[in-house]
């Protein structure tokens, strides 16, 4: 079993379930053991949504929120997807802070679903991910990785985020949907169209390169 599978709904094993109960009851060791494997995925989401300078801070914020909220976790979503939703909310709050807006969650209970749909991240982002350079990066080196980065830089934000979360960060469709605040069908559509567009851009750069 893949290590992530242990956190999927229905696959949760007895040992994980026991540790989860302990973490819900306040056992920090159990919380650490249970959530450490999820840290790379949370960092990936934070990097994609708020960029590098704040990503690690958002990760810490996410785990603090997770610690606070864990007693209310009801296993309707996988633990990983649940935490990614929290990470997305933490990212959105960080972006509001950048814009000088008050944090809505501190004033009233939030409707997480509405929040995801009503706050377009792409309108607020200062794109600072170091793994993706500016679109006009010099690609004369013919280095395929640099070329890929340049091609991704020419994609629109929706497609780029979906592709990066899937193929670089290796998140599942469900987790990408939670991170981006869209339905799984939208994720699949963005991946399909994103790959098609990327393939076209790469073909312009070098016919020998394929996005498959």
């Amino acid at each position: 079993m893949n290590k992530d599978d242990a956190f999927r709904v229905g696959n949760i094993g007895r040992a994980v379930s026991s540790r989860l109960d302990q973490a819900r009851a306040g056992d920090i060791e159990a919380f650490t053991e249970l959530f450490e494997p999820l840290r790379p995925a949370i960092l990936a989401v934070a990097r994609r949504l708020v960029g590098e300078p704040d990503a690690e801070d958002v990760v810490m914020d996410t785990f603090l929120r997770g610690w606070k909220a864990l007693p209310g976790y009801r296993r309707h979503a996988s633990l990983k997807t649940w935490l990614i939703r929290i990470a997305r909310n933490a990212c959105l709050d960080r972006l509001r802070l950048r814009r000088g807006e008050p944090l809505r969650w501190s004033l009233q209970p939030r409707d997480e679903q509405d929040d995801c749909r009503s706050t377009p991240v792409e309108e607020t982002l200062d794109f600072t991910d170091p793994t993706i350079p500016a679109p006009d990066e010099n690609v004369a080196t013919k280095d395929s990785a640099a070329m890929l980065r340049a091609a991704l830089g020419r994609l629109d934000r929706d497609h780029r985020d979906a592709l990066l979360l899937r193929f670089v960060d290796e998140l599942s469709y469900a987790d990408i949907a939670a991170a981006l605040g869209v339905p799984i069908g939208t994720v699949m559509s963005r991946l399909f169209n994103g790959k098609r567009k990327l393939r076209g851009i790469l073909a312009e750069m070098d016919p020998m390169i394929s996005s498959e």
Partner: protein
């Protein structure tokens, strides 16, 4: 013409900060942080419980309408999956009557707001 695959792995971002360092800071920062209360069980509406109990009594007494033809039942409960948190399940099934009564105790209603709220 052979096409070369794109090296997605070349774009892999740097690794997270060391685990020891991260969790040490986490332990410091959770001191005094109040935790949310455990999810409260959502009780079934009173009329639902009363109806289930009444149905169970009818079945046990053999008073269920059209309960005289076992072959007419056509309903056999082979398995039951309750995806939400609950305390227990009581299944009343009698081959002599055309019905099955399922009582789920302590069923918690889905609360998506609570799942991703913080």
């Amino acid at each position: 013409m052979n096409r070369h695959p794109i090296p997605w792995s070349a774009l892999r971002p740097p690794k997270p900060r060391p685990a020891d360092e991260f969790w040490a800071e986490f332990r410091q920062r959770i001191v005094g942080v109040p935790r949310d209360p455990p999810a409260a069980a959502t009780a079934l509406p009173a009329w639902t419980a009363a109806g289930a109990i009444a149905a169970a009594v009818l079945v046990l007494l053999g008073l269920w309408p059209n309960a005289t033809r076992p072959a007419a039942a056509g309903l056999i409960l082979e398995s039951l999956d309750v995806p939400a948190d609950h305390r227990g399940v009581l299944v009343l099934q009698d081959a002599a009557v055309p019905g099955v009564v399922v009582i789920i105790d302590g069923l918690q209603a889905a609360d998506e707001q609570g799942e991703g709220g913080p």
